[in-house]
């Protein structure tokens, strides 16, 4: 039997059902890896050992009784912005350092119902605002491929944990690339579903028209299994879409021959690292070999996606984060002079630098006299970008390109200039603005560092994206590579 941490989510679920190992054995094995890695990677904010072992024992009883679900006994981790009843949810912020949610996020509840066992909550950029996991109040996460480098963000803890095989799968969220970008930089598979596919209830809100929960796993097949259990209509989320969830697992082997692939012209510009570009073009050749038909497509407004994002996302963030008032929950300053002082100091102390920057940017672009010039203008350009995608999908089934401009960069390299940091998400933001699903799959290495290929499809085309990624992973072995030191 191969070592447990190399089996992957689907294999572990099958192995548990066949009683080849127990859920308690799995929890022990992965908890040991988590605890041993914590000093090096800092991937977790909370490790819930006692609860995990008791849930695993319950899973073993369910498996023995034959009453398990699709994921019964499988260990997973949640990004620390999914509310977990009785377990603190910090969102990577001092503001929520001691916040214990009174309820479970729908995603957490659904995965619990499917039988998954939570081992802990993963580190992340504060309130999911960041592309490098350096804005966390709990310190940066380090990339398992090279600990001097960032893992990407904002779901950096979930990505590093899956890449280092500390858990076979983890939840994550993607507002501007926060699933796909760290997946690319850590050499794993990351899927951001269509807006409305996965409930946002119990996800701490950042930018409500862009936020979407998704998965990080080592393969597309595992992502399909986890997504199938997470997705679906939720009356508690007013943007959740009433639409049946297809069986993504059953559709994994859909034939790829004849798939019309559009190469995103705007993504192969001079900002793309030449070696990174070579790996992506080699991956496209693999798709061609599998029978895909490649054509170039142009989305002329796509280069404006980063400026649109840095108006819309801060605007929504400034509204969402207004709820942190030092009164009902969250950090409160010492000895406030009056109510205004209470608000201002609690927020000034509780939020980190990047969060404050975005709240202020958002406050400004929504303020009287500037709302039309910034916010409405950005929402108009967003419409143009969305229309570009719609036009492209009239001719092709999916579009492909790089996930990021470069492989992982050094911790500290981009913290002094926010614009340089923001441009990391230049290839991922478009899908969020248009509400489209996207997946990043490992497609090779630049030196010792993994890079990703991104596939974006029309609304609700997750099954198509996953089967294309699955076919690619059947023809390549990049997704099976494990960082040295974590083999």
């Amino acid at each position: 039997m191969s070592e447990l941490h190399h089996i992957g989510l689907t294999g572990l679920a099958a192995g548990l059902r066949a009683r080849r190992f127990s859920s308690v054995e799995l929890a022990e094995a992965f908890l040991k890896r988590i605890e041993a890695s914590q000093g090096a990677l800092n991937a977790f904010i909370s490790v819930t050992r006692a609860q995990a072992l008791s849930d695993a024992a319950a899973a073993d009883r369910a498996l023995a009784a034959g009453t398990g679900g699709a994921l019964t006994g499988v260990p997973i981790a949640h990004k620390d912005l999914f509310c977990t009843q009785g377990v603190r949810t910090t969102c990577g912020s001092r503001m929520l350092d001691d916040f214990v949610s009174p309820y479970d996020a729908t995603v957490v509840a659904k995965l619990k119902r499917a039988g998954a066992v939570m081992l802990g909550k993963t580190n992340m950029d504060e309130f999911a605002m960041g592309s490098s996991n350096e804005t966390s109040y709990y310190g940066p996460v380090r990339n398992p491929w090279d600990q001097r480098l960032v893992p990407g963000g904002s779901s950096g803890g979930s990505a590093a944990a899956v890449a280092a095989r500390l858990v076979p799968g983890a939840t994550a969220t993607d507002t501007g690339g926060s699933i796909r970008q760290p997946a690319a930089l850590c050499g794993i598979t990351g899927l951001k579903p269509t807006y409305g596919r996965v409930s946002r209830y119990g996800m701490v809100a950042f930018a409500s028209s862009l936020d979407q929960g998704g998965v990080l796993t080592t393969s597309a097949a595992d992502a399909a299994l986890m997504l199938r259990e997470m997705a679906g209509f939720d009356p508690n989320d007013s943007t959740s879409v009433e639409r049946e969830v297809p069986d993504y697992v059953a559709q994994l082997d859909a034939p790829l021959a004849g798939l019309k692939v559009g190469l995103l012209k705007e993504f192969f510009d001079k900002g793309l690292d030449p070696e990174n570009e070579r790996r992506v073009r080699e991956a496209l050749k693999v798709f061609e070999g599998l029978g895909a038909k490649l054509t170039e497509v142009s989305l002329p407004n796509l280069p404006l996606s980063v400026p649109v994002y840095y108006v819309v996302a801060p605007a929504e963030c400034s509204s969402n984060l207004a709820r942190f008032d030092g009164v009902r929950y969250g950090h409160r300053c010492e000895n406030p002079r009056d109510l205004l002082d209470l608000y201002r100091r609690s927020r000034g102390e509780g939020f980190g630098a990047e969060v404050k920057r975005r709240i202020m940017t958002g406050t400004y672009v929504l303020s009287a006299g500037y709302y039309d010039a910034y916010y409405l203008k950005a929402q108009r350009v967003r419409q143009l970008i969305s229309a570009d995608f719609t036009r492209a999908f009239a001719d092709v089934d999916v579009v492909m390109g790089p996930t990021t401009p470069t492989p992982a960069f050094a911790i500290g390299a981009k913290t002094s200039d926010p614009i340089t940091m923001y441009l990391n998400d230049i290839y991922t933001i478009g899908a969020n603005l248009a509400g489209l699903p996207g997946v990043s799959v490992p497609c090779g290495f630049v030196g010792e560092l993994p890079v990703g290929l991104q596939i974006v499809g029309p609304h609700f085309s997750e099954a198509r994206l996953l089967s294309a990624a699955h076919a690619f992973q059947g023809a390549t072995d990049w997704h099976t590579r494990v960082p040295g030191g974590f083999a």
């Binding site: 009174p102 009433e242 510009d269 400034s318 404050k356 203008k377 419409q383 143009l384």
Partner: protein, 115 residues
Amino acid sequence: MYDFPLIFRIPRPATSRIPMALTREQIESIAALARLELTAAELPVYQRSLSSILEFVGALERADTASVAPMAHPLPGLSQRLRPDEVTEQDHHAEYQQNAPQTAAGLYLVPKVIE
């Protein structure tokens, strides 16, 4: 290092209504609106970075959006769903207040508001 996309190098329209840089007073006023206490050391940092962000997003001015409606929902044709106006929640008052920094007799405590 990343090379800025082309859009960033096109000159701004002469008719631009968007200011290039924010003053210290503007930063103070934004922070007051956002209910954020900033330290003296933080002010110039945000003055610089917010100015550069506004310059960066100023690229939007170049897009022709004369006949384009602002996007209201990421999914075409969808708008906010409404539910029947029925009571579905129970009282979780005591549980919710466990996260509150200061409460008494089921109330949230704040500094005196009325003299």
